[in-house]
């Protein structure tokens, strides 16, 4: 029987948030790309929460955007509410989050994919990898069709052997009843890839008409909307927003959950996959935070053209009747009608320590992986890996060095470094606390940090790069100016000080010195700064942050220098850890397995202690000494 046989540069398996970015990046870099999906209707589907961004995830979206990705633009075009979180904290933890119209989000992304040159979307289930001599050759689909490619990117999300569970009911399907991919796992294992099983979950969707919003607190969007994408004009997206609603669980909710724990598949041992600690189900929260008498429930719209509402904070895998009972204890949900049940989903994925920082498999050249398949959770984490995998798949075909961002450059760097060096036993979620240098990795300066990489890779236009260069120059010049302007002690100055509750000046001070005062800012000083040039708001923001937090930023830069020194101590790939007798057994085995590229990376491998690193450095020093003597 003759089978279809085609050849592409890059094959992308999956069209979720990772797959979309990977496929777009590869195609935009000129690669003939084919992107497989089990259903064309499920491109960029949001099967869980109806929002993009949030604490630290907002950073990822902006970084993806700076590199030339699509996620930021897509949410800017389809959001229905937007909010900058953590405004009361420092700028490092400000985070943008937008509620999406789910179906619009998916529809727009599908349109972008379908209209991108060199890119074909193909509905089919990939069932087999074709590997020869440790190198990927292509993939095979369920029908037996063969697609040869120089590089393949696996973005299978939660579809591998997916199983949805609530109570004692389970379906062997992907999210929203979509077809699971039941064959690929076998091929992965045959090719020496270690596979594991994770789980995640989602709350019920309920009918808006059955909710009593009077018993809930309305949550509005920001008055002035900040876009995700650096290329979106802020004025173009100001619009009427849809509200979310806040309510709380109570003792009664918790009692029902506690009394039915034995019917929870999670606690009854039906679910074997490991779930995320940071996005726990409501039954997890009740057990783990037993002292809390209530938990927040965010009631969020799923879109403009549906009455479905998402019950954020109450994901569950309880049986249907328990779900009804517990939801109906929550104020405003007394008569709630469920449209879709909450459920947990189990799926096959890998431990990403099998990957290099480029997201290419160590053992199979040309095979890349991104997204939930790598053990992460979240749309944004997926997109971030997707764009890097897509870029690096293209660079592999082009014979170029891969793009690797380090921990001091981007949250993406932190995310991928964590995934590929630290063995994680639960779905990995991005958090600001994971970024050691977060004051430098702000969401507001992602363009200044990363546009150059997108430009060098070929995803960012010359015009946009020039725009960033211009912005950099304006910031630099304005900071220099402000540092030299002495403000004097005139009456208007003193008046301004009084107005802001700031100590009056005894002698003159520079504007820069005053910006540092907690109660003042660059913006506040405008009335006494007649020479100030007209600057865009984003430029002024950078000037303010850089001056105001100068000391902290400088200290963080020094920490980065220390970090870079360790990163630059490279470990030869052929180093035989088993010969280093001072290492503890566990460290020996871990290092031998991971083969870290540098002392810095080695120090982050879990199970390797600083004492082991000392031994390693001493050993390498000895090695150097003995080589010198030879």
């Amino acid at each position: 029987m003759p089978n279809i046989c085609e050849t592409y540069d890059v094959v992308v398996v999956g069209a979720g948030h990772a797959g979309c970015e990977a496929a777009l990046a590869a195609a935009r870099l000129g690669m003939e790309t084919i992107c497989f999906t089990v259903s064309c209707e499920s491109i960029a589907m949001m099967p869980c929460n109806p929002n993009i961004g949030g604490s630290s995830k907002g950073h990822l979206v902006r970084e993806v955007d700076a590199l030339g990705g699509e996620m930021g633009k897509n949410i800017d075009a389809t959001f229905i509410q937007s909010k900058m979180l953590n405004r009361s904290k420092g700028p490092a933890v400000h985070s943008l989050r937008a509620q999406a119209d789910k179906s619009e989000y998916s529809r727009r992304m599908r349109k972008v994919l379908e209209n991108t040159e060199h890119l074909l979307v193909r509905q089919a289930e990939v069932t087999e990898l074709i590997v020869a001599d440790g190198r990927i050759q292509g993939v095979k689909t369920l029908s037996g069709a063969v697609y040869y490619a120089r590089a393949v990117v696996l973005c299978t999300g939660v579809y591998l052997k997916a199983k949805c569970i609530h109570g004692d009911v389970s379906y062997e399907t992907g999210p929203n009843g979509l077809q699971a991919a039941n064959h690929l796992t076998k091929s992965l294992i045959e090719n020496g890839i270690e596979v594991r099983r994770f789980k995640t979950g989602t709350p019920a969707r309920v009918d808006k008409r059955s909710i009593d919003f009077d018993k809930m607190t309305e949550q509005f969007g920001d008055e002035h909307i900040v876009p995700f994408s650096f290329s979106t004009d802020p004025e173009s997206i100001q619009k009427d927003q849809v509200s979310c609603w806040l309510t709380y669980t109570n003792e009664e909710t918790h009692r029902i959950i506690r009394e039915n724990l034995d019917r929870s598949p999670l606690y009854a041992g039906v679910i074997h996959g490991t779930g995320p600690r940071y996005c726990p189900s409501i039954e997890d929260k009740v057990v783990r935070f037993a002292d809390k008498d209530r938990h927040q429930v965010f009631v969020e719209p799923e879109g403009l053209y549906t009455n479905e509402m998402y019950l954020g904070g109450m994901s569950s895998s309880m049986p249907e009747d328990v779900q009804f009972a517990m939801y109906r204890t929550v104020p405003g949900l007394e008569n709630v009608k469920i449209v879709r049940n909450a459920y947990a989903i189990e799926y096959d994925c890998i431990s990403a320590v099998q990957l290099r920082p480029s997201l290419e498999f160590k053992k199979i050249a040309g095979l890349f992986a991104a997204g939930q398949f790598n053990g992460s959770s979240g749309y944004e984490e997926a997109a971030a890996q997707g764009i890097i995998a897509g870029i690096n798949a293209a660079r592999l075909v082009q014979g170029k060095e891969p793009l690797v961002l380090d921990r001091s450059e981007a949250y993406i760097g932190v995310l991928i470094d964590d995934l590929v060096t630290k063995e994680s036993f639960e779905p990995y979620r991005m958090m600001t606390s994971r970024a050691e240098y977060r004051l430098l990795l702000r969401q507001d300066n992602a363009d200044l940090r990363l546009t150059k990489y997108g430009y060098e890779a070929g995803l960012v236009s010359e015009a946009r790069m020039n725009e960033v260069r211009r912005k950099e120059q304006q910031i630099r010049e304005e900071i220099e100016r402000v540092k030299t302007v002495n403000i004097g002690t005139g009456s208007s100055v003193q008046e301004l000080m009084r107005r802001y509750g700031s100590a009056e000046l005894v002698t003159g001070a520079t504007l820069a010195e005053l910006v540092k005062r907690p109660e003042l800012s660059y913006e506040a000083l405008e009335p006494v700064d007649p020479e100030r040039p007209q600057l865009r708001a984003d430029v002024a923001e950078q000037v303010n942050i850089n001056l105001k937090y100068e000391g902290y930023i400088e200290r963080q830069i020094r920490q980065v220098e220390h970090f870079k020194k360790l990163e630059s101590k490279l470990i030869p790939e052929e180093l035989d850890y088993m010969k280093i007798s001072g290492l503890r057994k566990e460290a020996m085995q871990k290092l031998d397995k991971f083969k870290p590229g540098s002392i810095g990376q080695a120090s982050r491998v879990s199970g390797v202690s600083p004492a082991d690193i000392s031994v390693l450095m001493v050993y390498m020093e000895q090695l150097k000494n003995s080589r010198r003597q030879e």
């Binding site: 490092a92 606390s433 004051l439 907690p518 001072g582 600083p610 690193i613 001493v618």
Partner: protein
């Protein structure tokens, strides 16, 4: 590091008593077996770990010494390798003979510090302990030795670990709250943080205060003896140098070209400057020149002013007194065995007038060797507030530790500044983490980029 090493592990200078030859490595027991014959004829390779055996050390059939052999098997030994320690009767000659026998049986002579290096590399001790061992090896006197031992037993590590746990708890809490504001609140948290940071600042401050004492104990007190001709400087020097436990070495001053002599006085080392001048010429202040005397006085941490009680005070004495201003001074009223001519009240009054400070005056007779106890007591008072209890305190004996403590303190002060400026918690963690890291360097729980160099320079200094 497969080879087996051996060395005399008791001090070479220790008079009499017992000497220990330590053998460490995979062949340690085998090597010991080939030189040691147990009384009961059993082989050491067949005995359990941590047992002591009586027998003789032989070479070529000749008995060298009676000895006890202690067998400690890996990993429960100092180096975490197989270790045999041979306790013999001491005496340099016999000890060396035993070592030679061990070496001829296949062990290699250990390099200085090599046991410690193995202990560290095998994870037996952490970095601060390893460094304390280095100090132990080079400890010049009893007190520094005790300080090293207290550091070795992990007291410093313990203290620092305690502080780090507290810092990490705060950072962890703040980070958790930033990531999960629903469940973890930062409201009023900063007050709790401030109290703990204040407490830690005090702790680190106290550790730093001990740095100076630690240095003095290890390096000794730079001391100059001043006095007019024939006041008795030379005989004082001889008296000090004649102390039973004194270590007298001539050290060519590297920077000032000054001859320095070290004497040990009741556990504290005095580094006597320009002793050659005193010995050879018994110079008066005029003769060596006021400028030179001034320079010594400036450099000195302690001035011992020798006044002659058998002669009246004169201009030469007053010239010396001018150099005492602002210094730690001990006045020795020498020749107390002779009839006192100079009035000690007048002497005290003159010093008060000229140098502007109170001094204690000690009667001493260099000739009759009396008054040394009082001198020693006064030195302890002056330098250790009379509390020189080395085994109770944690002394910092390493300059690197001092710098790291100072840096940690700086970071902690920045945390306090941040709090007083009302910075949000996500800023405070930057300096909290910096302090945490710095303290981690001291006990080797943070990874330092030039650590290998530091360790190597320590191990290779030839101690």
């Amino acid at each position: 590091m497969e080879d087996t090493i051996a060395a005399i592990s008791t001090g070479m200078t220790s008079p009499g008593g017992i000497s220990i030859i330590r053998i460490s490595g995979s062949q340690a027991v085998f090597v010991a077996d080939s030189v040691f014959q147990a009384k009961k004829k059993h082989r050491l390779s067949s005995v359990p770990s941590h047992t002591v055996h009586y027998g003789t050390v032989c070479r070529d059939g000749q008995v060298i010494d009676e000895a006890l052999a202690v067998v400690m098997r890996a990993p429960n030994s100092y180096t975490r390798e197989d270790v045999v320690e041979i306790n013999c009767h001491g005496g340099m000659f016999v000890t060396k003979k035993v070592l030679e026998a061990v070496l001829s049986a296949g062990a290699r002579l250990a390099e200085p510090g090599e046991f410690t290096k193995r202990a560290f590399l095998n994870g037996r001790i952490d970095l601060s302990q390893a460094e304390a061992v280095m100090d132990l090896i080079q400890a010049k006197n009893d007190y520094a030795l005790k300080a090293s031992i207290s550091q070795l037993s992990g007291r410093l590590s313990e203290k620092i670990r305690e502080i780090r746990i507290c810092l990490l708890d705060h950072v962890a809490y703040i980070e958790a709250a930033l990531d999960d504001p629903e469940h973890i609140s930062l409201e009023n948290y900063v007050h709790k943080l401030e109290a703990d940071v204040d407490n830690i600042v005090n702790n680190v401050h106290n550790l730093l205060k001990n740095v100076e004492n630690g240095r003095i104990m290890r390096e000794g007190i730079r001391t100059v003896i001043l006095g007019k001709t024939n006041a008795g400087k030379s005989s004082l020097l001889n008296m000090l140098a004649g102390q039973e436990r004194a270590i007298v070495t001539d050290v060519e001053g590297t920077t000032r070209d000054v001859l320095e002599e070290q004497v040990n006085l009741g556990g504290v080392t005095l580094r006597l400057m320009d002793t050659a001048g005193i010995r050879n010429t018994e110079d008066s202040v005029e003769k060596i020149g006021v400028e030179r005397a001034k320079k010594y006085a400036q450099d000195a941490e302690l001035i011992i002013f020798v006044a002659d009680s058998s002669r009246p005070l004169d201009n030469d004495d007053y010239a010396v007194m001018e150099l005492l201003a602002g210094k730690k001074v001990i006045v020795l009223f020498n020749k107390s065995d002779l009839k006192t001519v100079a009035d000690r009240n007048v002497l005290a009054e003159k010093i008060r007038q000229i140098a502007g400070q109170e001094c204690r005056i000690i009667d001493i007779s260099a000739k009759k060797q009396t008054g040394l106890d009082a001198l020693q007591e006064n030195i302890n008072d002056l330098f250790f507030d009379g509390e020189i209890s080395a085994d109770e305190e944690i002394y910092i004996t390493d300059l690197r530790h001092k710098e790291l403590l100072q840096e940690a303190l700086d970071s902690l002060n920045l945390v306090k500044d941040g709090i007083s400026c009302g910075m949000s918690e996500d800023f405070l963690t930057i300096d909290l983490m910096a302090a945490y890291e710095k303290l981690g360097f001291i006990i080797g729980e943070s990874v330092e980029e030039d650590l290998a160099d530091q360790i190597f320079s320590k191990f290779c200094m030839g101690k």
